[in-house]
Symmetry: C2
Subunit: 422 residues, 2 copies
Amino acid sequence: MRPRAAIVVTGSELVRGERTDRNGPFLAGRLLLLGVDPARISIVGDDPGELGAALGIALDADLCVVSGGLGPTHDDRTVELVARVAGRALVLDNALREEIGSVSRRIAERLRRPYSDFELGVRKQATLPEGALSLGIVGTAPGFVLETERAPVVVLPGPPAELQQLWPRALDTEPLRRVLERARKPARRVLRFYGASESAIAKALADAGGERDGVVATICARDFEIHVDLLVDPGAAARGDEVERGLAEPLAEYLFTRDEQRVEEIVLEACRGRGWSLATAESCTGGLVAARLTSVPGSSAVFLGSVVAYSNSVKHSELGVSPALVETHGAVSAEAAAAMAAGARKRLGADVAVAVTGIAGPEGGTAEKPVGLVFLHAETPEGGHGIEFTLPGDRETIRSRATVAALHLVRRLLARNSHKDV
Amino acid sequence: MRPRAAIVVTGSELVRGERTDRNGPFLAGRLLLLGVDPARISIVGDDPGELGAALGIALDADLCVVSGGLGPTHDDRTVELVARVAGRALVLDNALREEIGSVSRRIAERLRRPYSDFELGVRKQATLPEGALSLGIVGTAPGFVLETERAPVVVLPGPPAELQQLWPRALDTEPLRRVLERARKPARRVLRFYGASESAIAKALADAGGERDGVVATICARDFEIHVDLLVDPGAAARGDEVERGLAEPLAEYLFTRDEQRVEEIVLEACRGRGWSLATAESCTGGLVAARLTSVPGSSAVFLGSVVAYSNSVKHSELGVSPALVETHGAVSAEAAAAMAAGARKRLGADVAVAVTGIAGPEGGTAEKPVGLVFLHAETPEGGHGIEFTLPGDRETIRSRATVAALHLVRRLLARNSHKDV
């Protein structure tokens, strides 16, 4: 049995739904990769009763990880409550107080406020449960690890960047090493599919015998992509192979990567491999395809730019789409998509272009051309391909699905060209 | 005291961190607006021990809301465990079985699988705890409300769209009405700030006496915007006014809206009011500004399009930025931003344009022009304004902050023009 971890996340803005928690998913994902089972994520607010209760239950697990509530104000109660639940006194660490004090002095200067405003908070943040192992500071609050009579507790600051920076230091402490000794770090296999239904993936997994005998499968579907992660316990590699084959073989035409590369990275890499430059011509996606491509560091080696042609006048002036074509076929048509792609190649000087035109809604739909109707066209020096969708969902969903569909269309076209297969 | 709600979210992909939970934040936000205090959000996976334990604790609240685990497979245990914790038998509802059955038959046909594959699942999904009030079906699983000897339990399907559709029906049941009778629905006041530090907001709130006496303040900061929601209990309006004034007056220059309008909506509305069209010219933001503007339904009435000029050749060919300018000042400069804005106005025929050029990183920075350096320029028929930032953070953060800064730059320029004030 894997060691089990309980994650407690505190933050009034989180329990009130103002902000979505990122620490729980981050910690859970990291724990899983270490061979520890994330059993529960509990999100509580400032109420000391709730936090105390959540900690009390969490200490029944093999490991407890707590985030948030380490600030300088009276609402920040994590240290006090961890100490109480663990039956420890609170101790002021003078070295820590000096360290936090000098950070706070710089902040006080920058904000032009007297340091005396900060002094109580500094003292509070330098006060830890007796026996705590400080992980150091990346903001003003130190993370720490506390051994208890029950589970060891890892306490980390709430801001995700600070938490993520301190987490590896926690793994390097004696209490965590002892927990991880009992964990069997699984091997991770990644399969990403595009265009298959979640139901088809579920069926393939079930036909392969499902999750058992040391293989855990997580399936995450979004915008037509389905990400499957197989976590394979040591010693279960043969079973892992079986499950992997059971997914990859029947669904081979949908499998687009066996690692975590995003589709935009695959597209840029394929262009780079051919020495080709890339551009987009977008209407309803409004720049989302270009934004995804440019989110990849180094994309400027391949990506030249985009024309977001939201009005027909811009389709004409910047992409050379003739008014006659728009008159005859409409701005949302296979012909318009092909003309937009051709225009982007010509005007931006790109070898490869992908164009998207569609009706994102909620208005703009008609009987013949309903909301969700999208035409895509990708063109390379070796040929092109157009495709039509009627996408379900609201404006945001239609735009994001059209974006992903456009990226996969050009991915497949580039793969086809290089392998000379259909 | 407000009634307290415990939210239990089940989903193995959630507790493993594969996917971020959206149901908890949605339910918490809705409960808060009804005057119910969301005390805790617990995320658990398939383990029946964990779910049973979470439900057991949740029933100590005044209201328990559960999402997920209503599917047809053996891993879907919510109904069975709710029944067990509430001490109820499970009862097959034949009318429900027929209803779910006909939905499943259509799915079976579409997937070309025999209905017999689905029959056990249908039976399971039509089996509810005795006394449950069905809320109907929007997928295949019915939501329901169950009165217990402790808290009433609302059980909803996991898929967020289904949950959000069924939630209002739950509010319309007798058990929920009784809980809500004891709640005092607060009035909600919204204040959104741009450019103020979170610390300045916190100080203004503290100076105004802070959250007390029937006023709850949630502060959410992202990309330079700070969203403050004041929830004001009935009878606390005077205190609410005091807090609102205490925030709005000292921070008046940063306050950009008193409702939930997003900055892109404000920009489009301001353009529409002047009869002006809008375009963007983007480099490092790669289309993100255009994407945000086009996310607004009806934006096509104002927004003409964008040129994403990622390469200098495209800055030249599509925006008319002279190679000499780039040679002298660089592609990342105030001069380049101004030239890009002028080019977008001219080439796309737009009255208003905003341009962004910068270094998103991680590579590309130098001593004089570090990663995070961004130049923005907005131009209208009545004048223009340029601004420079050095933004901290990684590539994604720099791009999203530059996007928000660009939208606020054009917002302020349009506000200034119309009020003839600085």
